[in-house]
Amino acid sequence: METADCYQVKLDVFEGPLDLLLFLIKKKKIDIHDIPIAVITREYLKYLDRKDQINLDREGEFLLIAALLIHIKSQMLLPREKDSREDEDDPRRILIDSLIEHQKIKAVSGLLKDKEEEESQRWKRSFTPPLSSPEEVELAEVSLFDLAQSFFTLMKRREQENIKLIKEKEYSLDEKMKEILDELKAKDFLDFFVYFEQQESLEEALLAFFSILVLIKNRIVVAIQEHLFHTIKVWLRKEALETKRP
């Protein structure tokens, strides 16, 4: 599949919409600071004529530039008041600036290409003798991206355990504990895993988990696993209710 840059023109002599313009400018040997728009639009239309097939995605870019050119042209034709900010207001300015900028970027990317070529031929030692006291394995470079990525991978991992995430709802441990106790009063027991899967978000699931842990710790509920790998059932301790406030 051709991806994002598909509307770039790929010919031997030039590439990309802005380059087409640059190419035309160079071909006409005109000063970039004095663009005769009419000539350029004519060249551009001729170019389009020569094509047997038009890729809409690709030509959309050209149309954008054409529109920009026409806009500039029309602005130039209108009588303008002379004022000190004239140069900044000159619609040609935008185009010229972006052309120069783009040319610069082109030049730099050529330079980077050479650097890449040279650097790829230099070989370094990428390994070191192991230390006898192994520390944690280190990471190439830590960026914000790494941080965020590791968190969301973590979430993905959890997500696959049938727990949905997102939700901005605020929960408190106390509320959750009360909810669990209410459920327990209504039913005889809670199926730990079923109850877990009912939770809407990871946060809520976590909170439910901690609530149950707290309830177990405070001897308000009792969790029983009848067989290994079986579900865990949570029961309310009758005596706990009488002595302790939920």
Binding site: S143, L144, L147, F152
Partner: protein
Amino acid sequence: MKAQLKELIESLVFVSLEPLSLDKIKEVLEEFPEEEVEDAFLGLVESYSSNQKGIQIIQSAGGYLFSTKPEYDIWIRRLLQIERKNKLSPAALETLAAVAYHQPITQAEISAIRGVDSSHTLRGLLQKRLIKIVGRKKSPGKPLIYRTSEKFLTYFGLNSLKDLPTKEELEKILEEEQTSEEE
């Protein structure tokens, strides 16, 4: 060419991941006459046998490789330890991420999110001052609660925690992993 052949062999020994044998060198440098390769190789070994170098060519497991001198061991260890300490481990990063996105958070909650006990990693982050203790949770056991620190923000060049990429943004970045790999 002779001098260059010596240099070339030097580079080969340098990059080789395992002790490099003379036979292997000859195999790689097939377009050069064998005796020349041999001569250049011996010249190289000889030039490294002087005591003026920090790195030596030693013979090991049927081949040759570069090695540092044993007497510099303590400083080398010191360097590697410093370098290792400077980087965050994947475990530290993951823990830090859990704190960043879930703060305020307790150790038990972090361990639950990660699925592994995180107390050791948490201590490390605390020592690095990337996280801080902000109080205790009003729940049984009164566990300590953690937050990311100011240093965390500066370390990642953030103005505030709101600057962290959201799940949606990250997913956008990651979703076309396969396609962008091809570039």
